[in-house]
């Protein structure tokens, strides 16, 4: 069985600092990491490989330095990594990104399952997975919390929706986006790290994947970011700093009056 895992390198957003003057991200000191939600896709691929045999190819589109993300994937148990990197890819939105990834996946060929993260923590769209499936014209499932069975012809998945879980039989080959509930990602092993360090990472550009240039990068992206701002939130509410029990009681009464005023009690 051949499994392909598209992964993305992202800035560690929990530590992101914003420049209040310019509204831009302060990138210095922000280490890029593998999109945390993609670790679950990698882990699931490794588990499927262990159960059913086969090979795993991790693929990423990003700057030349994104080979690090692929090496991390290899250290966790992926067999190969392919880096899609070229100036022409830069500035791609999800439409163009999923096009490039689908072309690369076509070139890799012969795949059975594609596993994506639910979404990337930087762009936070979750659009690339379904987008790849649409380009490849294969069936797909989103928000999958369990892959219960893989047979010659189908994959059985459990997807989380608003009011419960949907159990689906899906024809192969198929694309699946996974949620956090699916597993616990393993830590890289020492062996894995050595393998990762030594791995040859091929770099593919538009020619290698026979991509049409009008679909690439900023030029090939239907959406345009026209403005970036830092959200300002403020309601100018009332402020209380009760120190004594008596003061606390007054504030409690005030909240109860507020509840009455707003007719919630």
């Amino acid at each position: 069985m051949k499994i392909i895992v598209p992964i993305k390198q992202v800035p560690e957003t929990s530590n992101v600092k914003m420049d209040p003057e310019t509204g831009t991200m302060i990138r210095t000191g922000v280490e890029p990491i593998v999109n945390p939600l993609d670790l679950y896709a990698i882990e699931e691929a490794v588990r499927l490989k262990n159960q059913y045999g086969g090979e795993i190819v991790a693929v990423t589109m990003g700057p030349p330095s994104a080979h690090k993300a692929l090496r991390e994937a290899i250290s966790m148990g992926c067999d190969e990594g392919i880096l899609l990197s070229d100036k022409k890819f830069a500035g791609a939105d999800t439409w163009s990104t999923s096009y490039v990834l689908s072309k690369a996946i076509e070139k890799i060929g012969n795949f059975d399952i594609i596993l994506c993260g639910e979404r990337a923590t930087d762009g936070d769209t979750g659009q690339v997975g379904p987008g790849i499936a649409a380009w490849l014209n294969i069936p797909f499932s989103t928000y999958v919390s369990q892959i219960s069975e893989v047979t010659e012809t189908k994959v059985t998945v459990k997807r989380i929706v608003e009011n419960g879980y949907q159990l689906l039989d899906v024809e192969r080959p198929t694309l699946i986006t996974v949620v956090k509930e699916i597993n616990f990602p393993r830590l890289p092993t020492l062996d894995g790290k050595i393998k990762a360090k030594q791995a040859e990472i091929p770099v593919w550009g538009p020619e290698e994947i026979t991509a049409e240039s009008e679909h690439l990068g900023l030029k090939g992206s239907p959406t345009r970011v026209v403005k970036i701002s830092t959200p300002k939130v403020s309601r100018d509410g009332e402020r209380f700093s009760p120190k004594t029990d008596g003061e606390m009681e007054e504030v409690v009464d005030c909240i109860i009056r507020f509840f009455e005023e707003k007719e919630i009690i």
């Binding site: 957003t13 929990s14 992101v16 914003m18 831009t24 991200m25 999800t94 439409w95 999923s98 930087d122 936070d124 769209t125 979750g126 659009q127 379904p130 987008g131 649409a134 380009w135 069936p139 797909f140 499932s141 989103t142 928000y143 929706v161 608003e162 009011n163 419960g164 879980y165 949907q166 159990l167 689906l168 039989d169 899906v170 024809e171 239907p222 959406t223 345009r224 970011v225 026209v226 970036i228 701002s229 830092t230 959200p231 939130v233 309601r235 509410g237 009332e238 402020r239 209380f240 700093s241 009760p242 009681e249 504030v251 409690v252 909240i255 109860i256 507020f258 707003k262 919630i264 009690i265």
Partner: protein
């Protein structure tokens, strides 16, 4: 570009039109009025009653385009995507908005690829640019740290998903008239390569934070699972739902369906009361549409206070027990 009209993707569950559809109609109405075009609700379903379809008109649709087929009895991506792509090709709407539900977030990206359209996820604001008639979309990005404004000037339809429950529907007007169009599609659009074998319903008390009028939430400041029960108790007294920050969920004090914020749920209750939550941007992203906010935090600089109507700088372990006692007395509980 001969694309015209504003479309919203309606959602139904077992024949019942879902609230998110009405919320989208409110968003769509503003846009349709500015553009001076029809507002259309498209709905895929099986045996949805005429009264249910009419309800979309009462909530603001000028037209309803409805496709009825057993395949829409439960959600499957293929027939949804193929039917909607076909309908877009036929009617050519200039704007299509869907809710950022599991359904909307699944079908919209695939449709965008097939229609060569720009799609913006999880918008918090939608507007029309004067002159160009372009859709102006705003959305939080990079974990809520920035707001990006996005356009798709050269592609139609312009597509966006918006967070469920990030706005209220309009008041329905039962006298409103409109047209319901029953569309028939060829069998090839209704085929599915996946099949539902079972559905397991999720039922948990106090977890429906999205539809709750009152949400009482706790964060890491609660310090222990035992202390978090104060939040649960307060919610019970007020008949409210229990919310939690991601920290509280990660620590196992509350389950994921209770998580409020960017990677959890957006809530818009009449009253949001929280204690021991710092108010990280990712958390604030989920409560901006709450009508009233009361925050209790011991840190005078806590960010949550920026958004609070009543900001109480106090130790929650002293303050909450007193609030609970007085409320119990007031409500005879």
């Amino acid at each position: 570009m001969d694309y015209k009209g504003v479309w919203i993707l309606g959602e139904q569950d077992r024949g019942k039109v879902q609230t998110v559809s009405y919320e989208l109609l409110k968003r769509g109405k503003t846009l349709a009025e500015k553009l001076n075009v029809d507002l259309v609700a498209v709905l895929l379903g099986y045996q949805v009653s005429p009264a249910e379809l009419e309800s979309l008109i009462h909530y603001g649709a000028d037209k309803v385009v409805y496709v009825d087929d057993p395949v829409f009895g439960n959600f499957l991506p293929d027939p949804y995507i193929n039917s909607l792509t076909k309908l877009i090709d036929k009617y050519k709407p200039e704007i299509l908005i869907a809710s950022a539900t599991s359904t909307g977030r699944t079908v919209a990206p695939a449709i965008a690829i097939k229609c060569h359209a720009g799609l913006t996820a999880d918008c918090t604001g939608l507007d029309i640019e004067e002159g160009s008639r372009n859709l102006i979309q705003t959305r939080p990005a990079i974990g809520g740290n920035i707001l990006a404004t996005i356009k798709s000037p050269d592609h139609r339809p312009q597509m966006a998903t918006v967070r469920p429950h990030s706005n209220q529907p309009m008041d329905p007007d039962p006298t409103r008239k409109g047209e319901v169009i029953y569309e028939k599609l060829e069998a090839k659009f209704l085929k599915s390569r996946s099949r539902q074998v079972a559905f397991i319903e999720m039922k948990e008390e106090g977890a429906n934070i999205q539809d709750a009028e009152i949400v009482i939430a706790g964060g890491k400041g609660c310090k222990t699972e035992e202390n978090f029960k104060m939040i649960t108790e307060l919610a019970k007294i007020l008949n409210g739902a229990v919310g939690a920050s991601r920290e509280a969920v990660d620590l196992g004090w509350a389950k994921y369906p209770h998580q409020v914020g960017l990677s959890g749920k957006t809530v818009s209750p009449s009253m949001y009361l929280c204690a021991g939550i710092s108010g990280a941007v990712q958390h604030l992203a989920g409560i901006k549409t709450a009508q009233n906010i009361v925050a209790i935090n011991s840190d005078p600089d806590a960010q949550i206070f920026q958004l609070a109507d009543i900001a109480v700088e106090a130790d929650m372990f002293e303050f909450l027990p007193m609030l609970i006692e007085k409320l119990k007395a007031r409500l005879n509980k």
